[in-house]
């Protein structure tokens, strides 16, 4: 995108009150040979004042967008490769003081999350989240250097926006899903079927130039925080950067974010854009 980190692209759609409740920026890299359990603690010492709480979770599987047809899968074309988690069997969460920010670290993954807790917080905007993630990534790479663990070779970048669309807010159930989703016609060719009780949708799009892929998923979920059933609309852009340099990695994240925002806007209706107060 070629813009400064804190400068917002004026051509991107912008919403004053978007339904986003979480953003996730993630980097995947080849596991580091010498990285061990004690390094989680050593790294925590560096960030503990800002991330005072920890939790342990099982590691995430590696996910790679394969954009070239392989010999085996030629008949089905493009695919996603899922791998077993390699390296250590641990993913460590470092939780920020406010409870809104989280760093997830495992051997081969570095993830930064921002989320709403109460539901009424103002979304801090991508530019600010990106800057913080960049700081954290540079700090993590410096830590790895200090400990002689090597330099991560970034293989995949990932941007995810999690949106919660509440019922009775511009639509009244799945019979009116067409009021939310632009490509959903909302009627059948005959009159036999009643309105759907629930709907689950998965769509994916290739980014031009074999840059990666945009995944869109829509599904009913029960939110743990307040026991409310909502429609969860996730958009994830994933692909490989040109190199592992900070510039190339963040150039890809900017591209992914642009696809997520433009994809979200195309996927949803103007009716909902008004409710979310679209400005651009």
């Amino acid at each position: 995108m070629g813009r400064g980190a804190t400068e917002r692209d004026p051509t991107l759609p912008d919403f004053t009150n978007p339904p986003v409740i979480e953003t996730v920026l993630s980097l995947q890299f080849a596991p580091l040979e010498k990285f061990g359990i004690p390094h989680f603690g050593l790294y925590w010492e560096k960030i503990r004042s800002e991330y005072p709480r920890t939790e342990l979770h099982p590691p995430l599987a590696s996910v790679t967008e394969e954009l070239e047809p392989s010999l085996v899968h030629k008949s089905i074309g493009l695919r996603i490769a899922l791998g077993f988690p390699s390296g250590l069997p641990v993913r460590c969460w470092f939780i920020g003081e406010s409870g809104n920010r989280l760093l997830q670290v495992q051997d081969g993954r570095f993830i930064y999350n921002w989320r709403k807790i109460k539901g009424d917080e103002v979304y801090p905007r991508y530019e600010s989240i990106r800057e913080k993630f960049k700081e954290e990534w540079i700090r993590y790479c410096a830590f790895l250097q200090e400990e002689n663990l090597g330099t991560p070779e970034v293989t995949q970048c990932e941007v995810t926006y999690v949106n919660h669309i509440e019922y009775n807010s511009g639509w009244e159930g799945y019979g009116e899903l067409g009021k939310v989703i632009a490509c959903w016609k909302g009627s059948y060719s005959g009159t036999f079927l009643p309105s759907p009780e629930k709907v689950n949708l998965n769509v994916r799009h290739l980014l031009p130039g074999k840059e990666g892929r945009l995944h869109i998923s829509l599904e009913p979920v029960l939110r743990s925080r307040d026991a409310v059933e909502v429609l969860q609309l996730n958009l994830t852009a994933r692909g490989a950067p040109n190199s592992s340099s900070v510039e190339d990695v963040f150039r890809w994240l900017d591209l992914g974010r642009s696809w997520v925002v433009r994809g979200f806007t195309d996927f949803t209706t103007e009716n909902m854009h008004k409710l979310w107060r679209r400005e651009v």
Partner: protein, 168 residues
């Protein structure tokens, strides 16, 4: 309700930062892979294939998160998120058609109890504060035994108890 505080407990069976290992119980999120297999932080249950009664039951369980210490005026504690998850998996793993619906109540020590009554038979399943699960069968007002521990909240375990209840 603050989600951050809900998930502050260490998952049972996983090593702590001090290298200790907690009780070897099946981790409560095993029944909800969506909570541990994605980088998403905001925790949600994927309810596409759930029965309406299951959604309602888990909503009730989730509402126990809003309980505060001394919620019953007798020093009662609210259930931890691990207890909430284990109780939710009891509900999730009932796959019988039109099963008897339980009464679901919080237990003062931080547990959650399910209570069923059908004819002269009663069944109680309690998810205890440490994540263990106990059950008690009652027939004609008389408890059968002193309460037994259930190995897990698996479908087979819970449904065999419900089969006993229904057969009464």
């Amino acid at each position: 309700m603050e989600e951050g505080s809900m998930i502050a407990t260490t998952v049972s069976g996983w090593p702590t930062m001090r290298g200790e290992r907690t009780a070897q119980r099946i981790p409560p999120w095993i029944n909800f892979p969506e909570l541990s297999s994605s980088p998403q932080w905001v925790s949600v249950f994927h309810v596409l294939n759930w029965s309406p009664w299951q959604v309602d039951a888990v909503k009730r369980i989730l509402q126990f998160q809003s309980l505060r210490d001394n919620w019953d005026s007798y020093g009662g504690h609210p259930p931890s998120f691990d207890v909430i998850l284990t109780a939710s998996s009891v509900v999730r793993n009932i796959t019988l058609d039109d099963p008897p619906k339980p009464r679901i109540v919080p237990v003062p020590g931080g547990g959650i109890q399910f209570e069923w009554k059908k004819g002269r038979r009663e069944l109680e399943i309690e998810v205890r504060p440490d994540g263990s699960i106990e059950y008690l069968k009652i027939d004609d007002g008389d408890p059968i035994g002193d309460g037994e521990e259930l190995e897990s909240a698996s479908t087979g375990s819970v449904e065999s108890l419900l089969s006993w209840l229904i057969a009464g």
